[in-house]
Amino acid sequence: MRKKVYSSMDEIVADVPNGARIMFGGFGGAGFPNNLIQALVRKGVKNITAISNNCGTRDGELGLMFKNNQIKHVIASFPGPHANYFQERFAAKEVTLELVPQGILCERMRAAAAGLQGFYTTVGVGTEVADGKEERVLEGQRCILEMPIHADYAFIKAQKADELGNLTYRLAARNFNPIMAMAAKTTIAEVDEIVPVGSIEPEQVMTPAIFVHRVVQAKGLHYAG
């Protein structure tokens, strides 16, 4: 059996190189891997491409990484009015941004997860989102071609993991986490609780262990920001 359980946040992110492409789960304050993000802040990796719905809330979530100028490019749907460090870097042209409609962000990650090479959608037709994209008519509708979003890592947050990496999520903290877990080459999950193999009912596993490569318990490290 492969060892997936790590005992420290710093150890679990130790191999993340400068320039890595990383997906970060979370939405609306729920389901963010805040302890993993803080470990990346401590490690000081640079030139990260971040794929995330938004760009932090002041110091919270991805905020500190923008404050420290660790992120050079963002693929996001809604950077957010409270992402002040991102907005400063963006205004100063220290970070570039690709804005993607939220559902299309999900689908492009899922396409990477599912081994699909692209898909057509009506979403964004006639808008700035369509700029530079192939357009054609399919099923009688104007569509644009959207390409998969791949990543080296997914940093996600779950409620429980068993020692194999099967995950469950709590309430609406699920959000982007299962999709990112499937889409990245290496998925690292910060969880509230690690339980023995067999503790999660097979029918109630939300992310099967095949998608999860490392897990670490956020021992009372609950993020306050």
Binding site: F27, G28, G29, A30, G31, N53, N54, C55, A76, S77, F78, P79, G80, P81, F86, Q87, F90, A91, L97, L99, V100, P101, Q102, G103, I104, C106, E107, M109, R110, T121, T122, V123, G124, V125, G126, T127, E128, V129, R142, Y169, R170, L171, A172, A173, R174, N175, F176, N177, P178, I179
Partner: protein, 234 residues
């Protein structure tokens, strides 16, 4: 952005609907048992004005179906928030799912009604609601484009004119677009308007307003079929 100025000068000095009244009128458009997504701004007020006896299943793009009222003080669970980060509650029969399935619902035509805010709506039903030209910062799209593309019925709630008096219902949008030919109904502080193949059909006007007065504040022709009734809230 400033309108022609003409409208501003000729705008009658009569009361318009409040934001709450726009929401209250829009709530009447939701059929019993409908699956509904409410966007930021005025639409988010609609949940408070559902008629008695109507059950609506509110969808949130972060993966909730069956959202209830906002959480009271002391009841908040920050793993149970709506798309505006506000702690909410659930009604019986609610469910959770991931964000890709949440948007499979928006894009795939599964929502009966979606209600979005708007900066501009064109006479063809094009919607601009995510970016003000020249505004500072990155802007953000969120779920609006997926929702606009896929809802069975899309209602836009907004003020009829900008603060400067310029019409927000126009022949052609000048703001960055959210979607083409996606709006079905517009509920403003002056009117209820349906976007139809033949054009913009004026269904109702605000109390004490006439169709002619509303037309003057509208940047595209309105079609009145017979007498246009005043907006009621029940």
């Amino acid at each position: 952005m400033r309108g022609s100025g003409i409208q501003e000068k000729t705008a009658p000095n009569k009361p318009r609907l409040t934001r709450e009244q726009i929401a209250q009128r829009a709530a009447l458009e939701l059929p019993d048992g409908a699956y509904v997504n409410l966007g930021w701004g005025i639409p988010n007020l609609i949940a408070d004005y559902l008629p008695k006896g109507i059950t609506v299943y509110f969808h949130s793009e972060n993966g909730i179906l069956g959202m209830g009222r906002r959480a009271k003080s002391g009841e908040e669970d920050y793993d149970l928030v709506d798309a505006m980060k506000v702690p909410v509650t659930l009604i019986p029969g609610a469910s959770f799912f991931h964000q890709a399935d949440a948007h499979l619902m928006t894009r795939g035509g599964h929502l009966d009604v979606a209600v979005l805010g708007g900066f501009q709506v064109s006479e063809k039903g094009d919607l601009a609601n995510w970016k003000i030209p020249g505004a500072k910062g990155s802007g953000g799209i969120g779920g609006a484009m997926d929702i606009a593309a896929g809802a069975k019925k899309l209602i836009v709630c907004m003020e009829h004119t900008t603060k400067d008096g310029a019409p927000k219902i126009v022949k052609q949008c000048t703001y960055p677009l959210t979607g083409l030919a996606c709006v079905d109904t517009i509920v403003t502080d002056l009117a209820v308007i349906d976007v139809r193949p033949e054009g913009l059909v004026l269904r109702e006007v605000a109390p004490r307003w006439t169709p002619e007065e509303v037309q003057k504040l509208t940047g595209a022709p309105l079609i009145a079929k017979g007498r246009v009734p005043e907006i009621r809230f029940d």
